[in-house]
Structure formats: structure tokens, C-alpha cells
Amino acid sequence: MAIKLLLENDHIEGIRYYDTYRKNGGYRAAEKALKMSPADIVEEVKKSGLRGRGGAGFPTGMKWSFLAKPEGVPRHLVCNADESEPGTFKDRYLMEFHPHLFIEGLLISSFALGSNATYVYIRGEYAWIPDILEQAIAEAKNNGWLGKNILGTGFDCEIYVHRGAGAYICGEETALIESLEGKRGNPRMKPPFPAIQGVWMRPTVVNNVETLAAVVPIINMGGDEYAKIGAGRSTGTKLLSVCGNVNKPGVYEIDMTCSVEEFIYSDEYCGGIPKGRKLKACIPGGSSVPIVPANLLFKTAKGETRYMNYESLSDGGFATGTMMGSGGFIVLDDSQCIVRHTMTLARFYNHESCGQCSPCREGTGWMYKILKNIEYGKGKMSDIDLLWDIQRRIEGNTICPLGDAAAWPVAAAIRHFRDEFEWHITHPDEAQTRNFGLAHYADPIHVPVG
């Protein structure tokens, strides 16, 4: 049985309310943390090896230690709850069903960073969740966990929920900061980094919901103990949101030691592929990470078992591997069309590009147009190389990573499924009525090839 830290109390009815949460060990970490020094809390988080759970995987303790602390200038913790990466819905689950765990994490982190006013920037479409959070904040406040002079420590903290209004780009931390200031979500040039000049030009730390919730078990068990869970530099537990063609879509917590094969086929997690279909491909970390065909999913190119953690998923680089990303786990069965799926992602990134940098603004639209042509039987063979060329010229040439996020899915689809693109072009009519199927990239473990 896998270790659970965040969803440990998932089965307890009423865990979203204060009394139940408190009775089940809630706010014990906050009690402990408020007796520690802020620097010691940062130290525990560093020792835990916790990496940002929003997608980039940057070490949280290190990010915290970059925060500038000029005399007389307020600092802010801002929580990135703008979860918008296709395939990702884990933060929604935490906020909706475990709001107090989230608030406890926010409180401890605010204390560690010296943030007296902490903001939760939540995507606008999650319109019912601010009510849940605000009710939980009120409960926490009534019980002395927020407000003035918390537990007699002299520390004041307010948590405010700020709704966005539909813009994927606001999940990028500097765009989020611009949006929080009441502007368009155009990412800023870095440096200066938010840790020096963030919201209202004040030092700011932006962390993902799951990252901040993970601070609670880290304080409860100590950073060293937390670091013992997991594998290598992938410490602790990770939430995965599973969607696409699996028997049991939903949110799962893993301790990063299970294999990808186990994750997809065991009843504890995804429960296999429905309707007797076969696995074709998987995007394990949200739509922007490279898609991998089944034959590279369970075993790396070196023939080693692939595990559900940062290092193992990225083994082989982009040539044969992928990324842990945000944990948005998208599974495609053999009835799915890679060209069509890639086209929807290209449309998504085109819709969400802020328009600031021309490679992304123009390139995403161009890629979508070409993919649409190929999908609808109007493609030319030269379009495939053109797509490759466009994505290559977007990647790395934009202010923020949205350009890379738009380029990678297209690159990976061509890299691994070029024959399927070619088939669309050589069989324009047939491609409208049936899909390409598995070809040579079926899961070799569960489907004998040949």
C-alpha cells in the first residue's frame, strides 16, 4: 500500500470542515511551526527535497531562500491556483475537498516567508471553490489560526482569494502577478525575479497549491523523514490527475516508487484501458510535456523499467522520454487519432498565447492551421517538415515557457508518430473515417507486436 500524505484523510466524511479536520490531526503542523523560527521552517523544507508541484519541479526550499527581505518592505506569498494545463485537475481536488489542509499549508508558509497578506490566485472558471475556501478561511480565523497575533506569536496573517477570469497564461508566475495587479496577463521579462520584485514590486514567492499543502506533512514528520519517501531526487508524494481512456479517471496520490505499468494497469490506480482496447500513447505530465508511444512508456530506451517519478519519466530526454510536469496524466487508446489530439492542443495554445512575443503569437496559429489541414485531408507532405521547423523556432525564443509548451507536443507527435501524419496526407479520405491504429508503437508488454 502506497504512502499517502495529502489524501491520507480522503475517506473521512466532513474533512472539509474545521472540526473534523482538527479532530483528525489538523493544524498540528501549524502549532509546531509557529513555535519554530521562520528560518528553521525554510531549512526543513530544504531538507525535504520538495520540488514545485505546478510543473517545473524547482526545489521549493531554494525558491524560498531567494526571497529578498529589505527593511520596511512587505513581502507576499501568492498561491498559484490557476490550474489550467490540459489534463490537470489535482489542485481543484485539494481545494474542493481538503481546504483546511491547503490553508494550514498557506499559514505555515506565510509564517516562514513573513507574508502578512497572502493571496490565492484561483482560475475564474473554478467559480464555486472560492466559496469553499472563504468558508474554511472564516472557520480558521474563528479558531485563531488567521488574523492578528496568531497563537500569541505576534504574527498577523490574512488569506485572500482572488479569482482570475480565464487565461492559461496566468499560471506563469509573472503573468499571474500582472493579473493580480489588475492587468492583462502578459509575462514579465526576468530578471528581476519575483523573489526580488514581484507583486506591487514587492518581494514575492509564488507556489502551487499542492506544493503548499505538502508543507504540512513536511513539518509534521520533519524534512529528513519526508525526504526518505520516494526515489532519488523525487522525494515525497505527488498527486496525479488521470484522464483520457482509462477505467478509473480521477486524482491519485503516489509515492513515486510505482512503475508506470503498475500505475496504468493496477486496480489501485487507473485500472487499465476500457472496452478491451489497447494502450497507444500517454502524456504523463499535462498537455505540454512530450507524448510517448506505449513502447517507450513502460521501459526506457535502455530497456529499464520506467517509474512514476521526475527522473525516470524524463530518462532519455525528449528523444525517448518525457516529463513529470504537473501530473496531468492523459492516456490514449488505439481508437484515438494522434493528429486530431495534437490539433486540439495546438488550438489550445493558440487560444491561450498572450500575443506578446511574435514566435508564439504567430507560430501557434500557424501550427494549428497546418494541423487542421492535415487532420481534414488537405495536408501536403511538406507540411510535416514545416511544422517541425515552426515548433523549433518557437522553442526557447519567447519571454515565458508558453512557447515551449506549445512547441513540445507538436515536436513529440511528429517525432514518434510521423507515419500517422504521413498516412493522413496519403489517405485523406480514409483518415476521415477511421484511425491509424497502433502501427509499431503498441505496448509491447501487454500486446504482442507483429
Binding site: 512587505p74 490550474e83 489550467s84 494545463e85 490540459p86 489534463g87 490537470t88 485537475f89 481543484r92 497578506a117 493571496y119 482560475r123 475564474g124 472558471e125 473554478y126 467559480a127 464555486w128 490574512e158 485572500y160 482572488h162 479569482r163 482570475g164 477570469a165 480565464g166 487565461a167 492559461y168 493579473s179 493580480l180 495587479e181 489588475g182 492587468k183 492583462r184 496577463g185 506591487w200 490527475s241 488521470v242 484522464c243 483520457g244 481512456n245 479517471p249 480521477g250 486524482v251 502524456i283 498537455s287 496531468g328 492523459i330 490514449l332 484515438q336 486530431r340 489530439h341 486540439t344 492542443l345 488550438r347 489550445f348 487560444h351 491561450e352 498572450c354
Partner: protein, 165 residues
Amino acid sequence: MNIQFSAEKMTKVKEIIARYPEGKQKSALIPLLHLAQDEFGGWLDAPVMDYVASILDILPIEVYEVATFYTMFNTKPVGKYLLEVCHTGPCMLNGSDDIIDYIKEKLGISAGETTPDGLFTLKPAECLGACGYAPMMQLGKTYREHLTKEKIDQLIIELRGASVN
């Protein structure tokens, strides 16, 4: 239409502005635009945006540029019920295209159009964070998930009924 928040809404407006540091009231813009859109007919007409600008003591252009950037703000009138059906990758894998086609056929409108009675607008949407519960749509403040053609039939009957009462 008289563009003025009610006294009760004005209390809420003040409470929102107070969340941000003094002089940084512009931060309240997006929350206020949500309030204004809910209050003044489901979309943001120029006089409504000018009114929000006056509350926050900012230029109208600062409001327009934000209202036109974010997908959730409607700068044109929409039907009483805005059906925003997600059609990004994970929803597509689970048949969202069929759901969109079914709604088009049933209501006799194309994507982006409103029914002549002003009740329904269909808008294909990009990922709404409900990928595991696909196909889905956003309807007002909530999501309708695991959509089927039967559920669309029921929903439309339900909403037509609600609009009569």
C-alpha cells in the same frame, strides 16, 4: 439600464478593494468585473466598464484592455444560459465533439451563436480543469460533467422550465 451597484453589492466592492494595499486598488479590477458582469446582464457593455473604471479611479482603457484579454468576460451580449463545452485534448478523447455537434443540432445554432429566444449561447471552450470527468461544460458558476446526449436533453428541458418560472 441604471448602472449602479446596489448598496449591498457596494459593501462587497469595498470589502474587495480593502484586500489590496492602499493605492493598489486596480488589483480589484478582475473581481469587480466579475461582479459587474453578473449584475448587469451577463456581459460588459462600455458604460459598465466605464462605471467600474470610475469606482477604481483608473482610466476606462485600463478596463477595456483587461476585459478583452480574459475569456470569461463577454464583450458582446450572450444568452441567458451560456453553454461552454470543453473541446481540448482530454475532453476530445472522451467524445466532446459529439456533444458539441448534438447541441448544435438540437438548438439549431452554430458555435458562438445564440438561440433566437435569447436563452442559449453555445461556446466551445478550452480546458476547464475537469479532464477526468469528461465530457463536460461550464454553466454559470458550476460544471456539468460526464455529459451524454440524454443529459443534454434533460438539461435543456430543465433550463427552459427554469426560464419560464
